[in-house]
């Protein structure tokens, strides 16, 4: 199997200096210090195949960024083993740098007063890309990411969405085999988010780039990734394909009915009414307690239907259930 990322029993502890409360505590802190070791990552193991699109998610403080920092060689693990594209990241960070790309939603690598074209030229130098290769690659990326119209505009004049597209191009110029994305759509409007997600999918299909993405936006996960690794309190609580995840956790459906009757009521175990207004009825059906067939049959006994839709609960709901289950 062609794995590009492999980790085994990876752990990272941080040593935190404790502070004492109050004014005397502050004075005491000047003379005495007490440290505490906090485990941030606790023996996680996972592998990622070439070309996979993996969502690495978890609540705040779960250890996502710490893991990404270890995978990119920024942080040294306390124990365990990592191999990324055949390199040990914290030992071969320089060599690994040529083969990976990073996009961090809240940090920019573009020069503020200059057009993106200048930063791209600089990155071509940094990654030692030969001119003809760079020209060809840049042309391809300009077409894919549609940044031609603002290619020569100073970065400070770009919208957040345009800037993010430029950040992606900047991270892809050297043809990285793995792209690490940390909250790539944070702060973007809905159109810009859709565009970025579409581009990431295109990138993965056309170039076979492995995507390793963290995001709090479940739509990023749903629309870009095929596999989800869920981290909580430094441990992996789930590692599955998106399909499997949905199959396992989709125990509920959302039923929306347009009824002939102005108002009607349904009193069935497993049915939770979410909305009941004029000719409009929305409920959540717990499939473990009652079937959709039964709910529709009971409805038809009371009113005829003009329209009916059955939806899965949102990904957000599933993730919330997952995080909740981990803390029970």
């Amino acid at each position: 199997m062609n794995y590009v990322i492999q980790t085994e029993k990876l752990s990272k502890n941080f040593v935190i200096r404790q502070t004492f409360p109050g004014i005397w505590g502050a004075i005491k802190g000047l003379c005495f210090s007490k440290t505490e070791e906090i485990p941030a990552i606790q023996g996680i193991s996972f592998s990622v195949k070439a070309g996979e699109r993996v969502a690495f998610i978890g609540p705040n403080g779960a250890g996502k960024s710490t893991t990404i920092k270890m995978l990119t060689g920024i942080l040294h693990p306390t124990s365990g083993w990592i191999e990324v594209l055949g390199f040990v990241p914290w030992k071969d960070r320089h060599a690994l740098g040529y083969k990976i790309g990073t996009v961090f939603g809240q940090r920019t690598q573009l020069w503020h007063h200059l057009p993106p074209s200048d930063t791209f030229d600089l990155l071509a130098k940094i990654y030692e890309i030969e001119r003809p290769v760079y020209d060809k690659r840049l042309k391809e990326l300009l077409d894919v990411f549609e940044i031609g119209p603002f290619f020569h505009k100073p970065v400070r004049q770009l919208s957040l969405g345009e800037r993010m597209r430029c950040e992606l191009v900047a991270s892809l110029l050297h043809k990285p085999e793995i792209l690490f994305l940390d909250e790539p759509t944070i702060g973007l409007d809905i159109n810009a988010k859709l565009k970025i997600r579409g581009l990431l999918n295109r990138l993965s299909k056309e170039y076979g780039t492995t995507l390793f993405l963290t995001s709090h936006d479940t739509a990023d996960i749903e629309q870009v990734c095929e596999r989800v690794i869920v981290l909580d309190q430094g441990s992996i609580i789930l590692d599955s394909t998106l399909k499997e995840l949905k199959k396992t956790y989709l125990k509920k459906k959302i039923l929306t009915l347009a009824t002939d009757a102005q108002l009607f009521f349904l009193d069935l175990a497993g049915v939770k009414i979410l909305e009941n207004t004029d000719h409009h009825f929305v409920c959540e059906v717990d499939l473990e307690k009652v079937s959709i067939d039964r709910v529709i049959q009971e409805t038809l006994k009371k009113t005829s239907l003009k329209d009916l839709t059955i939806e899965d609960p949102s990904m957000e709901e599933i993730i919330r259930t997952l995080y909740g289950a981990a803390h029970v």
Partner: protein
């Protein structure tokens, strides 16, 4: 700052230098602000020294000479970019950690970025300072060879200033706030560097202390060449600047390596 650079590495950093030059040129508002500030300083000191000379009698320093002295001091002082602010932000915001995977040294790239900004400032502010002082005094007292030397020493002093600014910036690895550290550096530079008064008029014991620091070479000792030029004195300034520059580079490299160790263990 680590190992010697290969030709390919040098190309990367020279490109950063170029971008910093372009970025500074595009930021014309900042350049205009700095120029106006420099002109204000020079106007104030020109008046101040005229009044002081009239009252006390210019025993061994003529106000015109002093204006050249101050112009050469302020030119370099205001040209040194506040690169410590960018470094502090990079360290404090954790951006440094995200820049590390790129195959380029952060420290060298910041140095060349600082040099690029310094170059633009030196050229623009140099033109402002020299033209103003020339216009104010009416004569240009330098031979072309001396002028070239003064400009070169000014550029070298600016480069040493950039390294010291980086030392201030890198202290963000350990300090909560680097601005108090920068404040101390600036005040020592003003006082021991002889910003508004040549060191020759300071009490002897202060002169002795001052000459044990890099400050006179960056400001007063260098600018005093405008009053009393000699090739020996110019060589002394150049050697002092090289000595302090190399020493500061060594300290910077050492501190950066120590800081990176913290980053590798504790994160960004």
């Amino acid at each position: 700052m680590g190992q010697p650079m290969s030709k390919q590495s040098l190309t990367k950093y020279l490109f950063i230098f170029n971008l910093a030059v372009m970025q500074s040129l595009k930021n014309s508002t900042a350049l205009l602000g700095l120029s106006l500030f420099l002109l204000t300083c020079l106007l104030i000191f020109a008046h101040l020294w005229k009044i002081a000379a009239a009252k006390m009698g210019a025993a061994h320093l003529h106000p015109d000479q002093l204006l050249w002295y101050i112009a050469l001091n302020e030119w370099v002082l205001i040209s040194i970019p506040e690169i410590h602010v960018a470094m502090e932000q990079d360290l404090r915001s954790g951006k440094l950690a995200y820049l590390l995977p790129r195959p380029i040294s952060y420290l060298k790239s910041m140095f060349f970025e600082g040099l690029g900004m310094l170059t633009v400032n030196l050229l623009v502010l140099g033109a402002v300072a020299f033209l103003f002082t020339w216009w104010r005094i009416g004569i240009f007292p330098f031979e072309s060879r001396v002028l070239i030397l003064l400009l070169a020493l000014g550029a070298l002093a600016g480069a040493v200033g950039v390294i010291f600014q980086m030392l201030v910036g890198i202290s963000a690895f350990w300090l909560q706030e680097v601005s108090p550290f920068n404040w101390i550096w600036e005040k020592l530079l003003f006082a021991l560097g002889g910003l508004i008064l040549p060191l020759a008029v300071y009490p002897l014991w202060i002169q002795k202390i001052a000459y044990c620091t890099p400050f006179p070479a960056i400001l007063g000792e260098r600018s005093a060449l405008a009053i009393d030029f000699s090739y020996t004195a110019a060589l002394h300034v150049a050697l002092s600047l090289l000595f302090w520059g190399l020493l500061a580079l060594g300290c910077l490299s050492l501190l950066y390596r120590k800081g990176l160790k913290i980053l590798h263990v504790e994160g960004g």
